[in-house]
């Protein structure tokens, strides 16, 4: 049905053509460089779009206009101008910091977010890292990020960063459990860990509708925990400005700080992308049973547009949450996870297992 948008034959054809023109190792090298450049460009472009979107959405929620000077009425060039500005800022080296760990921290944060970023299913056959344990790999790779945050806070030898880092560490590892269990719920429903197969399972209905009650509960738990994983309000107490100036990256300056900022926004996109993959059908078009004409029109839209569109919808939901709720305290955050979300997600897991075993899902 959607086979004319399948990217896999095209990629295979490119690979075989390249292999016939040159030795195989050279073909692999060129493809590797192409993939690397593609990831970097996508990473930068998405970060700019997300930061612009965040500023505009925030402005709308606070009855302001937002950026409107640089680059025409919409302020479209404001974020690229900020990127250039941050590149020209001095990188200050600290006196008493742990130099090696201080330099290592941005590598870990960026690596975690690029590894998870390259697992997102953009289209049929359009996945950079395709593994049979895909979703499990995403969970594993995303937990590297917390190491970077802890190292950044510990190595800069400042009290603010230390408090910010341990707070963030405690919070991220706690919410990782809820994320893990709600992902597990969806793995039970689909019966596979392969991201492309999870999407393919949703061909005749998104998981949110297929798994009805437990899937909806898992989706809500995933959104709350994902918001905490991305270190955003109401869970942004790692960098609570009024208490800790900037939390774990207080001592980073210029582009060094830029990496944390970049990773934060990309993590927002990745969290939404995984939510879309698991619950909202990935690149599958929206189908309504009975409306055949509508379904045919929907099939004509390429998968990548569906995926990006749905992801930006979830990103908007998370921004809505961010600009609506006030920040929680550290004890409230941990109690919310351990006393409410964690037992609830275990309950959802059990309900989903029983429903799957007795065939009560659609």
């Amino acid at each position: 049905m959607f086979d004319y948008y399948n990217l896999e034959p095209l990629l295979m054809w490119i690979h075989s053509t390249m292999c016939s023109l040159m030795p195989e190792w050279l073909a692999f090298t060129i493809e590797g460089i192409a993939v690397g450049v593609f990831i970097m460009v996508m990473y930068a472009v998405l970060a700019i779009i997300l930061i612009y979107m965040e500023r505009k959405v925030c402005a709308a929620f606070q009855c302001r206009i937002g950026p409107d000077r640089v680059g025409g009425r919409g302020g479209l060039l404001q974020v690229p101008a900020d990127v250039i500005k941050i590149l020209t800022k001095e990188i200050i080296s600290l006196k008493n910091s742990d130099k090696f760990l201080y330099a290592l921290a941005p590598f870990l944060v960026i690596m975690a977010s690029i590894l998870t970023f390259s697992c997102l299913p953009w289209n049929k056959g359009g996945e950079i890292l395709h593994m049979n344990i895909g979703i499990f790999f995403v969970l594993a790779a995303s937990s590297i990020g917390v190491l970077g945050i802890l190292l950044a806070g510990w190595s800069s030898n400042s009290k603010y960063t230390l408090i910010g880092a341990v707070r963030s560490g405690a919070m991220i590892i706690s919410y990782e459990l809820s994320i893990g269990i709600s992902v597990l719920t969806m793995v039970i429903l689909c019966g596979t860990m392969d991201i492309q197969e999870i999407v393919a399972y949703q061909e005749n209905g998104w998981n949110l509708f297929k798994g009805h009650i437990p899937a909806v509960m898992a989706f809500i738990i995933y959104l709350i925990a994902g918001n905490a994983e991305a270190n955003r309000a109401p869970f942004d107490l790692a960098e609570a400005e009024q208490e800790l100036t900037a939390g774990y990256h207080t001592e980073y300056s210029g582009m060094h700080f830029g990496f944390f900022y970049l990773a934060e926004y990309l993590n927002l996109f990745i969290t939404s992308g995984i939510a879309v993959t698991l619950f909202l059908g990935g690149w599958m078009p929206l189908h309504i049973v009975g409306l055949d004409g509508f379904n045919t029109v929907m099939d004509c839209i390429p998968g990548v547009i569906w995926f990006v569109g749905k992801t930006f919808f979830v990103v908007f939901l998370l921004m809505w949450i961010r600009w609506t709720f006030p920040r929680l305290r550290i004890d409230q955050v941990l109690i919310l996870e351990w006393k409410y979300l964690m037992p609830l997600s275990l309950l959802v897991l059990m309900i989903m297992t029983v429903m799957k075993v007795f065939g009560l899902v659609f």
Binding site: F28, G32, V35, G36, I39, M40, L87, T88, E90, I91, I92, N96, F107, I110, M111, I114, L115, S118, L129, H130, L139, S156, N157, S158, K159, Y160, L162, V166, R167, G169, I173, E176, L177, G180, I181, L184, V187, I188, G191, T192, T245, T250, M255, H256, F259, I330, D331, L334, I335, W338, K339, M342, P343, L346, L349, M350, T353, V354, K356, V357
Partner: protein, 116 residues
């Protein structure tokens, strides 16, 4: 094939950081000032070491996390086959989860989840 791309992605991450840092180091100004290297504490000179002991409460949550994280690792392979294996797999996992929930209940009862 997969591992080639895994290495490519890891190298991309390293290249991104190195490239951006190199550009920033080339075009950013540099000036020396002994005050600049001090840790930022709102203008007041810092007192003592910053690598100090901190609240043990964070440590308790880390231990609890370890328990449940390993549980998740064990449950992932189980989750892919639960539909085929049926009630037998359900009973096994229910027993396994029961022990863990007992552990969480014990920690709760002992007050490990309170923030003091």
């Amino acid at each position: 094939m997969y591992f080639i791309f895994l290495i490519v992605v890891i190298l991309t991450a390293i290249a991104l950081v190195v490239a951006a840092m190199t550009i920033a180091k080339l075009i950013a100004p540099r000036s020396f000032n002994p005050q600049k290297g001090e840790p930022y504490e709102c203008g007041i000179p810092t007192r003592g070491e910053s690598w100090v002991k901190f609240k043990a409460g964070y440590y308790l949550f880390a231990i609890l996390f370890l328990m449940f994280d390993i549980e998740t690792v064990f449950l992932f392979p189980w989750a892919t086959i639960v539909a085929e294996t049926g009630v037998y797999a359900l009973a096994g996992a229910a027993f396994f989860l029961g022990i863990l929930i007992l552990g969480l209940a014990y920690a709760w009862r002992k007050g490990a989840l309170e923030w003091k």
